[in-house]
């Protein structure tokens, strides 16, 4: 058996066990889920250690350089005049997906522990949770567009129910808004996917293929096909390849989310239960960034180069707009949601620069944000579980009654605002360095975008520190009075055990960013080379 396949489908196995067990054993479900995520985490660590780096293992547009590959014929259909349809079960990883896989599996473990509070309908919760887990891992591993799309869409339904059934007051609205938004992006992605598949033939078999790696090679496009670079076809007056890029970009930009397509995010994050918020912020947003790198850049490199300015602009707008919004929130969870928008803007900016520094920074930012946003949402969940309130102005001087908690909050806040020594600092510094370099080397992004990004960091310091001051410092004053005071006990062992690994990861990646960069470097360089062509 292939390791990646096991990694993807382990949750299904455990999920089936949960479904088959009688409800009287419901107390065991969380342990089963924890076991599943821990096994996954161990596997991903093993893969990370076994992963071979170097120029010969860069991946990106070389099918033979991917690792842990499994390729099985899946759907083969002779469609007569339109040629044969070839869909493979094709999974593999390169330097871009491996760090994300490790991050995802760790966040999944954290999210499982965060679901300890879930008390209603436990069987359904963990079954959906594990289904979501499978889909997310599958997206990062799939190298066949059809398979990718399958996993991509498969995330939606479990999330709809996870938000809608276990969420807050406005959960129905949040769930449907999230679902419709994402679906809107992905149905058009389906059209582009079908167009690409009909344009590309596998040189080995001569069939039309959904293979993403083959789609990156311009030589595989038939001469008269819609997405052939040489044919320069237009759809409704717009060059077809530009349109294809824009459609795919919108689909992923909704996931990232990029302003102005971000409006689902604050609602969904706020209404979702803590574990789902963690998965949403920690993992799902990364799928957007990953999709842009792997698919938008990989399949339409020349459009990405001409459109880099606009990508960068959207990135800067997201950084600033998200930060300004975060500054204005009084709901703690909402503030963190908007800070996610702001931080994910760096990912887009880094990708747009198309320099090695920028793209490395983007990947590092995705990993770093994965850990930090999980930590932040978990921390919000701690307070919310105790008093069912998270209005910033209803708390004051928490530092004196919950000292351990406050320590973790400070770590998370300082790490997120880009304090040197923490992961976000390195990531943002790399991104901005890449943006600066871009104007002199490839001329894609102007200087002022880097400055805009820096202002975003400044703003993030403002809202994090201000929140810290409002909620944790000063004399203790709580809206709920004595009731709240007794309810607000400091964090327990389980909560500490959850937060410690996240804090360690934030610190470790800040001090040794090479943990990620060494693995990713070969692929990033290959990608930059590929984009230059």
């Amino acid at each position: 058996m292939n390791l990646l396949t096991i990694l993807i489908f382990i949750p299904v196995l455990f999920g089936t066990i949960i479904l088959l067990l009688p409800s009287s054993l419901r107390a065991s479900f969380k342990y089963i889920t924890l076991l599943a995520t821990l096994v996954q985490f161990a596997l991903s660590i093993y893969m990370y250690l076994e992963f071979k780096t170097g120029a010969g293992f860069a991946g990106i547009n070389h099918e033979d350089q991917f690792q842990f590959v499994q390729k099985l014929p899946w759907i083969h259909l002779d469609l007569g005049s339109a040629g044969a349809m070839q869909i493979d079960y094709f999974v593999g990883v390169d330097g871009i997906s491996v760090p994300l896989l490790v991050m995802t599996t760790l966040v999944m473990v954290i999210a499982t522990v965060a679901s300890w509070e879930i008390s209603s309908n436990v069987k359904g919760f963990f079954a959906l949770f594990l289904l979501l887990d499978m889909a997310v891992i599958g997206v990062f591993c799939a190298l066949d567009f059809f398979l990718f799309y399958l996993f991509y869409e498969l995330m939606l339904l479990p999330l709809y129910f996870l938000i809608g059934m276990w969420g807050g007051v406005r959960r129905e609205y949040a769930a449907i808004k999230f679902f419709l938004y994402t679906l809107f992006g992905s149905v058009f992605m389906l059209l582009v996917m079908v167009g690409l598949y009909l344009s590309v033939t596998d040189p080995a078999t001569g069939n039309h293929t959904f293979n993403i790696v083959q789609m990156m090679n311009p030589a595989n496009y038939s001469a008269d096909s819609i997405f052939s670079a040489a044919a320069q076809q237009t759809i409704l007056g717009v060059p077809a390849r530009v349109l294809g890029f824009v459609v795919l970009f919108i689909a992923f930009a909704i996931k990232v989310p990029v302003v102005p397509l971000h409006t689902w995010l604050p609602v969904a994050h706020v209404e979702a239960p803590t574990p789902v918020s963690i998965i949403l912020a920690g993992v799902l947003l990364k799928i957007g960034g990953y999709g842009i790198i792997r698919i938008c850049l990989g399949i339409f490199p020349e459009v990405a180069a001409t459109g880099a300015f606009w990508l960068g602009l959207l990135g800067v707008v997201s950084i600033l707009y998200g930060a300004l919004n975060a500054l204005a929130q009084r709901d703690l969870k909402r503030m963190i949601a908007y800070s996610s928008v702001s931080h994910m803007g760096f990912v887009l900016l880094g990708i747009a620069s198309q320099t090695a520094e920028g793209i490395s920074g983007a990947i590092l930012q995705m990993i770093s944000h994965g850990f930090l946003s999980s930590m932040l949402f978990y921390l919000v969940g701690v307070v919310y579980n105790r008093v069912h309130d998270r209005d910033i102005y209803n708390f004051r001087g928490l530092g004196s009654i919950m000292p351990k908690y406050t320590a973790f909050v400070m770590i998370a806040f300082f790490a997120s605002l880009g304090l040197p020594g923490f992961s976000a600092f390195v990531a943002e510094a790399f991104t901005l360095a890449g943006t600066f370099k871009s104007s002199t080397t490839n001329g894609l992004l102007p200087y002022w975008m880097a400055i805009g990004g820096s202002i975003g960091i400044l703003l993030s310091a403002a809202y994090f520190l201000w929140t810290l001051q409002r909620m944790f410092f000063g004399k203790t004053l709580l809206k709920g009075g004595e009731v709240w005071r007794t309810a607000l006990t400091d964090i327990n062992v389980r909560e500490t055990l959850t937060l410690v690994p996240l804090a360690i990861m934030a610190l470790a990646l800040g001090i040794f960013p090479s943990l990620v960069l060494d693995v990713a470097n070969g692929s990033v360089l290959a990608l930059v080379e590929f984009l230059k062509k």
Binding site: E153, L157, I176, L183, F188, V194, D224, I226
Partner: protein, 501 residues
């Protein structure tokens, strides 16, 4: 008459020699009589026997279809039967196979609806009528002569009228039945008018006759346009595309749920086969210079998709909602028709087959809820997901398939239709095809908006109504699970069905 006399023996021998291509239909006729007689002679307890005979007979017919398929293949793929009245070709047999199997499924399902099965006359007549209508449907898939087209359509229509009005104790159902008969009769008249015009223009009823097309081309656009529009209205009434869809919601809501399941699937599939036969003749022989079928059908398809899906958003009654959604699906399927390519035809058959399975399953589960709790509106489904978890989860998966999301057969159907349209678009860059695809994508989002209302009420809202569990409905649960597994299986491995089409 004297002119005909010398040719009569020759014609008779030709007809006799064609009979062996016509075996499934002969079996159906026999089966029809057999079920009718069983009903007459066995008496009050005939219901079970009629059903068993009907199902067994249809399965035999299915095997005969298979033989027919090999015969047609041996004879070169397409055989005109009975001096051009019918055209037997391999895809027509695919349509027939699907119709037969779906009818078996429906026959199994008929007595499970409490409202229908408590009918005081029993269901024996309903089985007889169903078999009769299947015969009509078989003829529809092969009809290529204006006369046989009309006869086949009428045969199906009349049995449909009877089925809709079968349970007429409630005023609403009676109203639905009456409306259906009136509208149906009017549309038949319109169809007949169109046919008579075409006959008048061309002097022939055989649409594959070269003379037919040559004469038609010589006729002015106004006359041809009028005649073809009238014929399209007649066929469109069966297909329920806009603007002749207005009967659908009332009839689907008023009819007994299994009958709705029947109406929304099987006749629609046959009507698509008929439309393909009709349009093929026009596209393949000599395309009329002025009347562009692709333009007309594309425009109808777009309008139908939009109207059907947007109207469904406002519905509260589950059956009514599914009625509007089935209009939307017709529009989507028209997309595959206008490709005029073999791949498009295959995609169409696949799409219709999986749509029909999902739609029957959805109505089967609607029956389940109505049997158990009396719920008919979406809002009455509140909290039922926790009481009936298995059926509810199946329902969600079926609705996902109807929306066209992975992993479900509906998604693969959508994928095949899109690829066949794309393949055609790549060749001719017809902007209508592009518009169809974009509309198809947009309405997918719209359809999610109303389909999701059912899971929303089942799982996201809490219900309060106490009611008695009826544990006799295990059969429905079993069939729902079976169909759901089938839908997921086809979502993962569509080639198992696509290859045999």
């Amino acid at each position: 008459m004297h002119d005909l006399l010398p040719t009569i023996p020759e014609q008779l021998s030709k007809i006799l020699s064609d009979v062996h291509f016509f075996v499934p239909e002969l079996y159906l006729s026999g089966l029809f009589v057999l079920v009718l007689l069983a009903d007459l002679f066995i008496g009050k307890r005939s219901e079970k026997y009629c059903r068993a005979i009907g199902i067994a007979g249809l399965i035999i017919v299915f095997f005969k279809d298979y033989e027919q398929y090999s015969l047609a293949e041996q004879a070169g793929g397409a055989v005109p039967l009975f001096s051009g009245m019918l055209l037997l070709y391999n895809k027509a047999v695919s349509f027939k196979v699907i119709i037969d199997l779906l009818t078996v499924l429906l026959m199994i399902y008929f007595p499970w609806d409490n409202k229908l099965s408590t009918h005081k006359k029993g269901l024996s007549d309903l089985y007889t009528i169903t078999i009769g209508s299947v015969l009509g449907l078989h003829l529809m898939t092969m009809a290529t002569n204006l006369l046989s087209i009309f006869l086949a359509v009428e045969m199906v229509s009349i049995s449909s009228y009877l089925m809709v009005a079968y349970r007429s104790e409630s005023g609403f159902s009676a109203e639905a039945g009456l409306k259906y008969v009136l509208f149906g009769a009017a549309s038949s008249a319109v169809l007949l008018y169109g046919i008579s015009l075409l006959y008048g223009f061309t002097g022939s009823l055989d649409i594959w006759d070269p003379k037919f097309m040559v004469n038609l081309t010589a006729t002015g656009i106004a006359g041809v346009g009028l005649a073809l529009t009238l014929v399209l209205i007649g066929i469109g009434f069966k297909l329920s595309f806009v603007p002749v869809h207005f009967w659908v919601p009332d009839v689907y809501e008023g009819a007994a749920t299994p009958v709705t399941a029947y109406l929304s699937t099987v006749p629609k599939i046959a009507a698509f086969a008929l439309l393909i036969n009709f349009v093929n003749a026009f596209v393949a022989v000599v395309p009329h210079p002025d009347f562009d079928f692709r333009l007309v059908l594309s425009a109808i398809g777009i309008v139908t998709m939009i109207a059907g899906n947007f109207a469904a958003v406002a519905q509260q009654n589950v059956k009514r909602m599914l009625a509007y959604s089935s209009i939307g699906h017709t529009g989507f399927a028209l997309m595959a028709v206008v490709t005029y390519s073999p791949q498009g035809l295959n995609s169409l058959i696949y799409y219709l087959a999986v749509y029909a399975i999902a739609n029957i399953a959805a109505l089967l589960m609607a029956t389940y809820y109505t049997n158990q709790t009396g719920a008919e509106k979406v809002t009455e489904y509140k909290g039922l997901g926790f009481k009936y978890p298995i059926v509810s989860v199946c329902f969600v998966i079926i609705l996902i398939s109807l929306t066209g999301l992975p992993v479900s057969a509906g998604f693969t159907g959508k994928l095949f239709v899109f690829s066949s349209v794309y393949a055609t678009y790549q060749q001719n860059h017809d902007v209508w095809l592009l518009a169809l695809m974009i509309t198809g994508a947009v309405v997918t989002v719209v359809s999610l908006f109303y389909y999701i209302k059912i899971p929303l009420n089942l799982f996201l809202r809490k219900g309060a109504l106490p009611f008695e569990h009826d544990h006799s409905d295990k059969k429905i649960i079993a069939l729902s699970i079976l169909l759901t597994i089938l839908i997921i299986f086809l979502g993962l491995f569509p080639h198992f069905l696509y290859k045999v089409l």
